[in-house]
């Protein structure tokens, strides 16, 4: 609890001259550094307050009835001290309970009756009122700071208590399309897309329990039915004395859209690359040719195998000529992939012919102890085709007289 | 999308059920047809081992994430007799091809990550993961 600074505090007495002199005397006897000012009427008091605006709020001690109006008019019609611009104490001519209640309901922090005993306590009452005023100011400033922060934020901020929204900052209002009135007391999961509600509930609970620290994504549905993606974190707080949840989230809709489009593009690229990198050609009825070119890594080998096998089934091909003339290097890995492909094709009921095995490649394969098994091999594509045609029962003859 | 599921395995029908769940979860994750086949087959093998040797057990499916990778994790566990020599069981050639359910090295080849813990008299736990490429 902060200690009141021992600098002088201004006090504005709004009383007639005689009473004011008496009261001033009381304060001067007190050892606190009071700075007493005086105004005899409402009008002059208001004037003074205007002139001294911007300084630390003075304590105003005003008579209930002044020559030109009720002292309570200085309060400006508010109902609680929280709404006041300065702390106010009302002086009553007699111990009228009704007037006292009226004063307290109009923003005054205390009332003192100008009977003998009580009035001498005024300096002490003044100190107590100032304490309370300091406390009110601190709380008010904290709230104003929070709201200013929350409203200027590019982040959605909300408070949920007993499953209802109790606070929703401007960003959230704008993003959701709902007004503050519509959001207040809305069920906390109403904004969340129905399909994501369970997930959000689970993740929020995990985060509040401390079992999860990473923010989680989900969709909200705006007032006009659009879908937005958000990334949220939640934390436990106390709000107006009870447990509540403070949530904050970022709008990641754009990012999600870009991610989606990126994925699509990558997928399209991959597919077309797949087709390019696995050029399966039907060179004859029931004969497929696959001229492999370039580097064949694990991923590509996988794609090649899938594409080839699917094409075999699609075309009903009984012979597949796999030409490896253009393959950069044939090591154990590549050879194993080739063997796998051939075995799988054979399992489907198709015969494979390997062509284009260069001398160095043959050497490597023998040295590595690789056994291409009973896979027939031929020098090149043409010879592979001849083999295939013969297998299918064709007889290949050169026309008489041709070169 | 289903993120997690646990099932009991006690008979042939449960093996089929487990395969289906594995396939569906793999599908939802966006894994291709061949990967779905690999996962179903691995599940079939492991679940069959449970039915054959332990009588009953459990299978646990979980979607897992590592950095930006997503994948399916499957754990098959039982409190059966356990495998006396896991290393031997995991060696190629231990399985007769087209052979009797033991299929562990085969299942390992179908997956990206494969872990097995077994203790005689206590039981066996096999966990495998297949990542989305």
């Amino acid at each position: 609890m902060a200690e009141s600074k021992v600098t002088s505090r201004k006090v504005l007495l709004v009383e007639n001259e005689e009473e004011a002199k008496f009261i001033r005397g009381l304060f001067e006897k007190d050892d606190f550094p009071w700075d007493i000012c005086w105004a005899p009427t409402l009008k002059e008091a208001a004037e003074w307050l205007r002139r001294n605006k911007g300084d630390r709020a003075p304590l105003v001690i005003a008579d209930y009835s002044l020559p030109d109006g009720p002292g309570l008019d200085l309060a400006g019609g508010v109902k609680t001290p929280d709404e006041m611009d300065f702390p106010l104490v009302i002086l009553l001519g007699d111990g009228n309970e009704e007037k006292a209640i009226e004063a307290l309901k109009s923003g005054a922090l205390d009332c003192v009756t100008k009977g003998e005993k009580e009035i001498e306590d005024l300096p002490r009452v003044a100190k107590d009122v100032l304490h309370e005023w300091d406390y009110i100011t601190e709380r008010r400033e904290a709230k104003e700071l929070f709201t200013a922060l929350a409203d200027s934020s590019q982040i959605g901020i909300y408070i949920v208590q007993e499953r209802r929204i109790r606070f929703a900052n401007l960003f959230l209002q704008r993003l959701s399309g709902f007004s503050e009135e519509e959001l207040l007391n809305m069920d906390s999961l109403m904004l969340v897309h129905p399909e994501d509600r369970e997930k959000v509930r689970k993740n929020a609970i995990k985060m509040l329990k401390g079992e999860r620290s990473a923010p989680y994504e989900f969709r909200i549905v705006t007032k006009d039915g659009r879908i937005k993606w958000v990334l949220e974190s939640v934390t436990s707080i106390r709000h107006q004395g009870k447990r509540a949840v403070l949530g904050n989230f970022m709008d990641i809709t754009e990012r999600k859209e870009m991610e989606g489009r990126l994925k699509e593009t990558v997928e399209k690229l991959r597919k077309s690359q797949e087709e390019l990198s696995t050029p399966v050609v039907q060179i004859w009825d029931r004969i497929l040719a696959l001229p492999l070119i370039g580097i064949i890594d694990s991923l590509r080998a996988q794609d090649i195998m899938e594409v080839l096998l699917n094409r075999i089934v699609e075309t009903g091909s009984e012979i597949v000529i796999i030409d490896i003339t253009g393959v950069s290097s044939v090591d154990t890995e590549v050879a194993n992939h080739l063997i796998k492909t051939v075995q799988a094709a054979t399992l489907l009921g198709t015969e494979c012919v390997l062509t284009g095995i260069k001398p160095e490649v043959a050497q490597t394969m023998i040295q590595l102890g690789l056994n291409m098994g009973e896979v027939p091999t031929r020098r090149n594509m043409q010879e592979g085709l001849l083999y295939g045609l013969k297998k299918l029962g064709y007889e290949v003859q050169k026309e008489r007289g041709a070169q | 999308m289903l993120e997690e599921k646990e099932m009991e395995i006690k008979d042939e029908y449960d093996i089929v059920g487990a395969r289906s769940v594995g396939k569906v979860m793999a599908q939802e994750l966006g894994l291709g047809v061949v990967d779905q086949s690999r996962i179903s087959t691995a599940i079939s093998e492991l679940a069959r081992n449970v039915v054959l040797y332990a009588g009953k057990g459990k299978i646990h499916f979980r979607v897992v994430r590592r950095g930006s990778k997503e994948g399916l994790e499957v754990t098959v566990s039982d409190e059966g007799p356990g495998i006396p020599d896991v290393e031997l069981a995991m060696m190629d050639g231990y399985t007769t091809s087209g052979g009797l359910g033991v299929g562990l090295p085969g299942a390992k080849r179908l997956t990206d990550e494969f872990e097995i813990r077994s203790e005689v008299g206590k039981g066996t736990v096999v966990t495998f993961r297949k990542w989305k490429r």
Partner: protein, 134 residues
């Protein structure tokens, strides 16, 4: 799902249908073959081979989406037994994804011919029968 499978199985008084085309038998596996069903299937096939003196058996596995070591054994055994009774076995309609899985797993279909579809399967059997007569 489990209970409906059991119901289907109990309904299978006729088990898996086996047709006769020319000198051969043709059958299609549409549902998962577990223990009892697999055994019954093998018996049915062998009995029918004997009855019809079939020279070949075509098994359509288009509908199979998982082929594990169990079903591999069932098929390999069936082919071996059929062979002893003078009939060759051809598997047709194997899915590419299954073929890849089988190769990677390390399972092989010993003693079983394969063809892309029924038509090619019949062609293959006709040729085999012709050749064996030479």
């Amino acid at each position: 799902m489990n209970s409906s499978l059991r119901e289907v199985e109990e309904m299978q008084q006729e088990q898996i249908p086996i047709l006769k085309i020319e000198d051969f038998l043709v059958t299609s596996i549409q549902i998962p073959l577990h223990d009892k069903l697999a055994l019954a299937f093998q018996e049915d096939v062998l009995r029918k081979i004997e009855k019809t003196n079939a020279k070949g058996l075509i098994i359509d596995v288009t509908a199979l989406d998982v082929v594990d070591s169990f079903i591999t054994r069932v098929l390999v055994e069936l082919a071996a037994m059929a062979r002893m009774m003078g009939a060759k076995t051809v598997l047709v309609g194997l899915r590419p994804s299954i073929a890849i899985t089988l190769v990677e797993f390390g399972l092989n279909l010993r003693g079983i011919y394969t063809a892309l579809n029924l038509e090619k399967g019949l062609k293959l059997l006709r040729k085999e029968v012709r050749d064996s007569k030479l």
